[in-house]
């Protein structure tokens, strides 16, 4: 193994060997490595090409803020683009590739873009690709996207699954650095329910990257000891590999747990990730801080990194990006990196400190008051050019430059409810301010307390304060001895007077010049700056670049940085894969299905199903030899009208209404009267919306003085129930009414046709007389069937035939359909599906969803007289609006084509036989159409202006979109049995 840049020590297990590949080359790393640390250990600094100019880039950070080292992981359906190499945990067999380059990372044809950078400045696209307008979508955008891109997607279905889940706690602690651990410890010891979420795969945060002692232990050892105590507490849950991505309302947080991303393939049955919704009573944000770079000319070469990251690679991963490292800093933190590197045997060729009074450092030359003004090295840093305090220029050899411009507290989550951070001069950065999300406290570096001691102290205090709010007594733990250095920093954002490009946002190739251009072109608001230059967009959301951009803009406008302000921080904190957002709602699992009681039997019969809402309903039941759905449907219609058919109507909503005032209640709910409905009788009813429009119809059966069963349409079952509950609870709370749905409790079958009674007489037990006299049209009652099973029988008809609906407890629904079919054999019984049901109700002229379409009134439906004026009901008053009651109002009519070979097109509009075809001359529209096997003709239902008085008139039925134009006669909507003799037989 040739780990040219591997150092001693660290928290990786150097006894292990993990093989991995990058761009086809084989490498080895250790357990505990990230892809970035393993590549650096193998001497690989070049990891990607930039977004726009295809400039060679290397890793800049050691965490989730990484802008440059974006790679594709895995292959085939598991290919994952735009993964930050800094958070990709190394596993044996990891296959990674660089992206946005061709043919290779070293030789990228699109690197030519860099030569034309003068033309490709901010706003270039907006200014250049304006004409012709039509070219944008089809030519310009596809070409630009291809040239300037990130990773690629596989276009295959993701083979892995993702879960969503819900967790609850008294205290959510976000981050497990010193502040987070102390917060969790304080709350855990107090017995509070604690969730500690850590985005890294190890706990400890910066303690793993630093050499400071806590008490008499290494920081990482202290962290491990605290975690050991927390693990033993049953009230504490530690979630590693879990990023809290957003702070939402009422103390709810979103968090993504990467369960299997560190494995080549998830364990069998296990998800790749889980999206948790965490319900917290209180939260402590201990998310730490992110270091910021200093921009200078050619500051983007592979090897130019953040100083804290270089230190983390050395201390945690035992890796240096190069044997020779220089430091560029405006604060003491850069010196810390230099010291740690030297302790590990790395040569520090110089510390360039912009502060004239920079402290000295043993073992390395400090260039006080100097700046880095340029760098060399095409695919990797070779040297940097310094401008010394004296003005003299000097070259300094180094393969890596560790840059520190100070630290920005990670305030993101504090701003997700529109909180505005405030400026803190001491650290020259924004810290949380204004109104924080409900229940949130901030501790440690995230709050601007950048020392270890500050973090320990504020973490404990934040937890104690949070628990005080909840009435949970907590004791502050003893604080161990820890580093407590003061911040010494001179704000410095970019090296001025450079002629070349100084990169502010490396992910989006935004330079200081671009920001100047935005200012010059008056895009000065930070939000405009962001959109015009793309500063702070994409996967890193400007975590390392936003502050630099703001600082440059502030300088240009002559305002302070706080006056310039930040852009709005929005969730998610880090990128979230779409799979995690979808969870299990994929493909057929997008919604649950509902099966009718006859589903199993219908499946055996080869029924063709249709989704009606979530219900799976049989559409028709094909017989051998039937090659077209209409053959099946027409046979079902004929068999039903000629003898008897059975249809599963369980899907219709059933609402049990009881109480002393049940009848009064229904009188108010329905447009027509129900108070006087006799016990043992059913009545058809129409419900109106508040605005007088009809919205549902159905029946109500009175089983007792104080007991009704209301049926609704399948589609509106939930809506009607909800509206009735609202009316019961809010409109008429004084009425004694109780409601409950019983839709699922009863399997209900329509038995229709001239032989319906004959069939049912074989099913209903003989002690129940269901003759026409004893059980006439619209009768209902409780009966027993098949030798004693309790059942309900309703004599109602949607088809227009002699018909009943028989209901039995659902568990017997399967047996019931089989019994009905067996008993009906002698009558040539047929099951019929929703299509035959539809044909028969059109033949009968019964309204359904097509007619109850949200725009029609009872008057339109021909049911105007049903709206009782003797009583009040929902919608009664507004149904009297003048506009709804014009003489020429739409009325439901039937249509028959003049030429029997024509078909009435559903949705077509009606025009007078003579005259224009236009919206102005529109006479109405067709709502339903079908071929009637009984009439051997196409028929339709339509709403026609003044339709009741236009029987026999010939109209044009037109559909200009399809070029259809036929002639049809206006007839009664009741094509079959208009006098209702069959259903009363």
């Amino acid at each position: 193994m040739t780990h040219s840049n591997r150092l001693g020590g660290g928290l990786v297990d150097q006894s292990t060997r993990l093989s991995f590949s990058f761009d086809g080359a084989e490498y080895q790393g250790h357990q505990g490595d990230t892809l970035a640390s393993a590549l650096l250990a193998n001497g690989v600094r070049l990891m990607g090409r930039s977004f726009k100019y295809h400039r060679p880039r290397g890793v800049m950070t050691a965490g989730s803020e990484e802008p440059n080292a974006l790679v594709e992981l895995r292959s085939g359906a598991r290919q994952e683009p735009n993964t930050r190499a800094t958070v990709a945990e190394l596993y044996d067999g990891l296959d990674a590739r660089s992206q946005n380059r061709f043919p290779s990372l070293k030789y990228d044809f699109m690197g030519i873009n860099d030569r034309f950078s003068n033309f490709l400045t901010a706003g270039f696209y907006y200014k250049t690709f304006m004409w012709p307008k039509a070219f944008w979508e089809k030519l310009y955008e596809p070409v630009i996207r291809k040239a300037a891109g990130l990773g690629s997607v596989s276009f295959q279905d993701d083979p892995d699954c993702y879960d969503k889940g819900f967790r609850h706690c008294d205290l959510l602690v976000i981050g497990s650095g010193p502040a987070g651990l102390m917060a969790a410890l304080t709350a855990g010891r107090a017995g509070a329910r604690v969730i500690l979420a850590e985005e890294d795969f190890v706990t400890g945060g910066r303690l793993n990257a630093e050499t400071h002692q806590i008490g008499d232990m290494a920081g990482s050892d202290w962290a491990a000891s605290v975690v050991a105590e927390l693990v033993a507490l049953p009230n504490v849950r530690i979630l590693t590999r879990t990023t809290v991505i957003g702070a939402f309302d009422h103390g709810i947080y979103g968090a993504v747990e990467r369960v299997s991303d560190h494995l080549a393939v998830p364990e069998s049955g296990k998800p790749r990730q889980v999206l948790w919704r965490i319900y917290s009573k209180r939260a402590v944000l201990a998310a730490g801080a992110t270091e910021r770079p200093i921009a200078f000319e050619n500051n983007d070469r592979p090897g130019v990194m953040l100083a804290g990251a270089v230190r983390a690679y050395a201390n945690r991963w035992a890796v240096t990006p190069h044997k020779q490292v220089a430091i560029f800093t405006n604060n003491d933190d850069g010196h810390r990196t230099a010291a740690d590197l030297m302790a590990k045997g790395v040569t520090v060729t110089g510390v360039i400190d912009i502060r004239p009074d920079a402290p000295s450092l043993s073992g390395a030359e400090v260039f006080a008051g100097a700046q880095v003004v340029d760098s060399t090295g095409r695919l990797g840093l070779r040297s940097v050019k310094l401008r010394l305090a004296s003005g003299e220029l000097r070259d300094l050899n180094c393969g890596a430059l560790a840059v520190s411009g100070g630290w920005n507290p990670n305030v993101h989550l504090t701003c997700h409810q529109r909180g505005k951070p405030v400026w803190n001069d001491a650290i020259a950065a924004f810290i949380p301010g204004g109104e924080l999300p409900f229940g949130m406290r901030v501790a440690g570096a995230a709050n601007g307390d950048l020392s270890t001691m500050g973090a320990l102290k504020t973490g404990a205090q934040a937890a104690k304060d949070a628990l005080d709010d909840l009435g949970i007594r907590a004791q502050l733990p003893d604080l161990p001895k820890a580093e407590d250095a003061k911040i010494s920093l001179t704000p410095f954002w970019y090296v001025k007077a450079s002629k070349g490009r100084a990169w502010i946002d490396q992910q989006n190739d935004v330079t200081v010049k671009d920001i100047k251009l935005a200012h010059q072109e008056n895009f000065r608001s930070v939000e405009h700056l962001k959109r015009y230059t793309t500063l702070g967009m994409a996967t890193d959301q400007g975590k390392t670049s936003n502050m630099g951009g703001l600082a440059v803009m502030a300088e240009l406008t002559g305002k302070s940085i706080p006056e310039t302000g930040t852009t709005i921080f929005r969730p998610p904190y880090t990128p979230v894969t779409m799979g995690a957002l979808a969870g299990r709602s994929v493909g057929k699992d997008f919604h649950p299905t509902r099966e009718t009681p006859s589903h199993k039997w219908a499946t055996e019969q080869g029924a063709v199903f249709v989704e009606v809402g979530n219900w799976m309903r049989a559409q028709w039941f094909p017989k051998p030899g039937e090659t077209h759905w209409r053959q099946s449907v027409e046979r079902e219609v004929r068999q039903t009208r000629n003898s008897v058919g059975v249809c599963d109507v369980t899907t219709l909503g059933k609402i049990d209404v009881q109480g002393a005032d049940a009848a009064t209640f229904l009188n108010k709910i329905y447009a027509n009267g129900f108070a006087k409905l006799a016990i043992g009788k059913v009545r058809y009813g129409v419900m109106l919306r508040e605005d007088g429009i009809a919205y549902d119809d159905g029946t109500a059966a009175r089983l007792a003085e104080d007991h009704f069963v209301v049926t609704t349409t399948t589609a509106n079952a939930v809506l009607v129930y909800r509206n009735m509950e609202f009316a019961r609870q809010c409109l008429w709370p004084d009425l004694d009414v109780q409601l409950i749905s019983t839709t699922e409790a009863w399997a209900q079958y329509a038995v229709a046709g001239p032989n319906a009674r004959n069939l049912l007489q074989k099913i209903v037990d003989p002690e129940f007389d269901i003759s026409n006299d004893a059980f006439p049209f619209m009768a209902c009652g409780e009966v027993t069937v098949c030798g004693g099973l309790r059942a309900r029988l309703f004599r109602i008809s949607f088809s227009g035939e002699l018909a009943y609906e028989i209901a039995v407890p659902t568990r017997y629904g399967d047996a019931m359909i089989r019994a009905l079919m067996e008993a009906g054999e002698e009558f040539d019984v047929t099951p019929y599906g929703t299509e035959a049901l539809g044909v028969m109700r059109i033949e009968k002229g019964h309204a359904a969803g097509n007619e109850l379409n949200g725009t029609t009134t009872a008057l339109n439906l021909g049911l105007g007289r049903m709206v009782s004026k003797k009583k009040d009901c929902i919608g009664n008053v507004l149904s009297e609006r003048e506009g709804l009651n014009e003489d020429n109002a739409l009325r439901l009519v039937g249509l028959r084509p003049v030429d029997a070979r024509d078909a009435i097109p559903a949705g077509a509009h009606l025009m007078n036989a003579d005259g224009d075809v236009s919206a102005k001359t529109d006479q109405g529209y067709v709502t339903s159409a079908a071929y009637s096997p009984i009439l051997e003709s196409s028929i339709g239902l339509a709403f026609l202006k003044g339709g009741a008085d236009r029987m026999g008139e010939i109209l044009r039925v037109v559909n200009p979109l399809e070029g259809q134009d036929i002639r049809a006669e206006v007839v009664s909507a009741h094509f079959v049995d208009p006098d209702g003799e069959r259903l009363r037989a």
């Binding site: 819900f166 889980v274 699992d589 649950p592 109780q738 019983t742 839709t743 409790a745 098949c786 030798g787």
Partner: protein, 188 residues
């Protein structure tokens, strides 16, 4: 005695049991349910209900059980009475007779499907399915929650969590339980 053969909510003749390393999902088809809702102003209701059930009706979010029946709270002045199906096919009639018009009683037995979850992984599975704080539910606690878009009752009984969901979606509910059980327990 009628000659019709019942099927379970999952469409079989016998109840289904699925076994995972730390979880058992058992379909429970042999319970009867009847809703019981007090009529307005019927002061004698609770007394009559208690006399029949053998225990006081439980308070909000709670259940209670006696030797023959159990009951859990489902809404203001509303409960679900639970009993073994055998011998109680007509549970609603029994309850209705007992409360004598002081309450509305509705047969709910076949409106629901029911799965009992037991084993160490139960809470880990449930927290991936619903936002109810199952960990904090004491034995006897009951709540209404959503699982896979379905409104369900979640009832913690001794040693099991009972999930009661809409019967027509038994297949979908079971599928969701199974998927999540695999997530937590893995596949053998």
């Amino acid at each position: 005695m009628h000659n019709l053969k019942p099927i379970t909510p999952l469409g079989a003749e016998t109840a289904r049991v699925d076994q995972f390393s730390a979880l058992t999902i058992a379909e429970v088809p042999d319970r009867a349910l009847a809703s019981l809702t007090a009529r307005e102003g019927c002061k004698e209701f609770r007394e009559k209900a208690s006399a029949f059930l053998g225990f006081e009706l439980p308070s909000v979010g709670q259940s209670a059980a006696g030797s023959a029946y159990a009951a859990f709270w489902i809404g203001p002045e509303s409960w679900m009475v639970d009993a073994p199906y055998g011998g109680n096919e007509d549970l609603a009639r029994q309850v209705k007779a007992a409360v004598e018009g002081s309450a509305s009683v509705v047969e709910q037995t076949d409106g629901w499907c029911r799965f009992d979850l037991s084993g160490e992984a139960t809470i880990a599975v449930l927290e991936r399915l619903c936002n109810a704080d199952c960990q904090q539910m004491a034995v006897g606690a009951v709540t209404r929650t959503q699982i896979h878009h379905l409104g369900c009752f979640m009832w913690r009984q001794d040693g099991v969590f009972t999930v009661i969901g809409p019967r027509s979606s038994a297949g979908s509910l079971h599928h969701a339980l199974m998927q999540t059980a695999q997530s937590v327990c893995g596949l053998d």
